[in-house]
Point group: C2
């Protein structure tokens, strides 16, 4: 069955900006726009675990649609979690409130790799179904598919949970590079296939999210991570979906992340869009980069910061407005709506 | 009473490297070398709270000396905590195990500023005493004085404890810049005076540590933080003590941190020493920058990484070998001794 996404989403401002083509106004969406900042989300999630929620197509659809309806953003982001694909292939993992993903038996030997088989669309029928439901509902608004990148997945699997210093992960990559590459090769397949399922079902853009990659030096990134991110991104090559690649604290890695095969590089708030463009070089779009903490500042301050990001973004083709990191849970959602309107207003002037 | 530090510590490799002068070999010390990685430290601290320990000169002296004896490093770092000076002036604060500093009543209004009076040497007689004891014991090894920088102190005081996103801190700086600057002006006095007490008692170098400043954009740093760091560093100008300034994740801020008045800029492992020197410009020494996670990798891998940092450091005058962040508590202390020997060996070749 072919994608049910209206063909015209291909010429949406989001897709055009991702391709560095002219836009009618700067497209805007927010990382983690679907989530705890919305009371309607908290009500819907009540009593359902995160991973359970991610396997229920109607729930995923409703959660993904909530911020689009409320804020009028230019894209929906598929509601999922970074560890959904590894859970889908059978790895024992749960998301513990206040902690994050916890892996019952971490991956630390070659034998452990058997617990992470390749992912096929048969592992995630609920994703295909949710994407189809979504694109039917979304009309002209494009859907962004989502997956965690191999390094971040590997860190969770090797450490057994969230980690501040990624000590075991780095010890493995340096101490047993062959095992490291075998693990990341597997995770790149899982991650890439997860993106591909979404793209084939109708997602018009994909985002590969590498939460923790900013913990690496550039030398470690290019040697141990970039080839695997490239493999994951290559899984959707030829499907006509621009690829966004983002990580936090990645000022030193922007050019290498672009070179991994992304049309759009997400920029955190520590680096200006101008500096980011200079580092990345021509031919790529940028996404970002308002400091999410500014959403707690008075409106006049926030307003000026939003206008600055929009104006800076417009100095060259290819800018998708976003935060420089995910929406914080305590934020007043009305502020996100105001920012959306302001971005549109300023960029059509 | 004048400083009892032997005058010859002024021509130690540490001080010479800090001034970009020729050295007999690359000086090495480790941030957090005095601390939980050492069994003799854990034994000594048993039953004594962190803040209590910091007020006992004999204990501070012994803890500070432990890593110097064990590893043969080229500097002692004064054992203290970032919040010691604010506790010394009377702010109610405690260090909670597994959490960090917790401020009973956070600072959020102009009236709250009264709870952070100016610091004089009379507030910290135990610091003066500990430094004097130390320099008498240390002989030719120079002592590095230590203080937390105004921004990091402000973040603890405004948030009420450690924070991931510094939301209240950023909301305050943007929402009430006058109060923010008043608070940081006070904290710069406290921080600078704390460094000055140590320098006057015999510390030969000082390090101003801005743990969290990497959470700021460059624009926010230059407007809201740099003037106050400069004020703190200026408090020891004229005392003939080179000043090291370090923060984590500060690749974007290195030049501005140097411009705040530091002779030496600490570099974390995400940026190469070569790139750091290029960003900072000539006339400054650099300190760093081995990834602390590599201390858990096999020796051959670690060895190569150490040699690389030493060789890169030697390409220009002015390099102090260190980690790109503090020693992790689980590290095998023998590894630190091996690294110290290796740095010395490689740099005298």
């Amino acid at each position: 069955m072919p994608s049910t996404a209206p063909a015209r989403t291909r010429s949406s401002d989001l897709v055009r900006a991702a391709r560095c083509e002219p836009v009618s106004r700067t497209p805007v969406w927010f990382m983690r726009q679907a989530g705890r900042s919305l009371p309607e989300y908290r009500a819907l999630r009540e009593g359902t675990s995160m991973l359970e929620a991610c396997t229920r197509p109607e729930l995923v659809t409703e959660i993904t649609l909530q911020p689009v309806r409320r804020h009028g953003v230019d894209a929906a982001i598929f509601f999922s979690d970074i560890v959904v694909p590894v859970a889908a292939v059978g790895l024992e993992i749960e998301i513990v409130a206040g902690v994050g993903p916890v892996v019952a038996r971490p991956i630390r030997s070659r034998a452990d790799l058997e617990r992470v088989p390749e992912l096929t669309s048969g592992h995630v029928p609920y994703v295909t179904e949710a994407v189809r439901l979504l694109v039917a509902e979304l009309g002209d608004t494009p859907l962004i598919g989502f997956a965690g990148a191999p390094f971040t997945l590997a860190s969770y699997l090797v450490e057994g949970g969230p980690s501040k210093n990624h000590v075991r992960t780095k010890a493995l990559m340096h101490g047993d590079p062959a095992l490291w590459h075998a693990l990341c090769d597997r995770l790149a397949q899982v991650s890439g296939a997860f993106l591909r399922v979404q793209a084939q079902a109708g997602a018009r853009v994909v985002q590969l999210f590498d939460s923790w990659v900013g913990a690496l030096s550039r030398a470690d990134y290019t040697r141990f991570v970039q080839p695997h991110s490239a493999q994951a991104l290559a899984a959707v090559a030829g499907l006509d979906v621009p690829r966004i690649h983002f990580g936090v604290g990645t000022g030193e890695l922007l050019a290498d992340m672009a070179a991994a095969g992304a049309e759009v590089v997400g920029v955190d708030y520590r680096v200006s869009l101008t500096d980011a463009r200079e580092r990345i070089g021509p031919g790529h779009a940028v996404q970002g980069n308002l400091d999410p903490a500014l959403l707690f500042a008075p409106w006049e301050v926030l307003r000026a910061a939003v206008v600055e990001v929009v104006e800076e973004g417009r100095r060259a083709p290819g800018h998708i407005f976003n935060l420089g990191h995910g929406v914080l849970p305590d934020v007043d959602p009305d502020v996100l709506t105001r920012i959306t309107d302001l971005v549109h207003e300023v960029s059509t002037r």
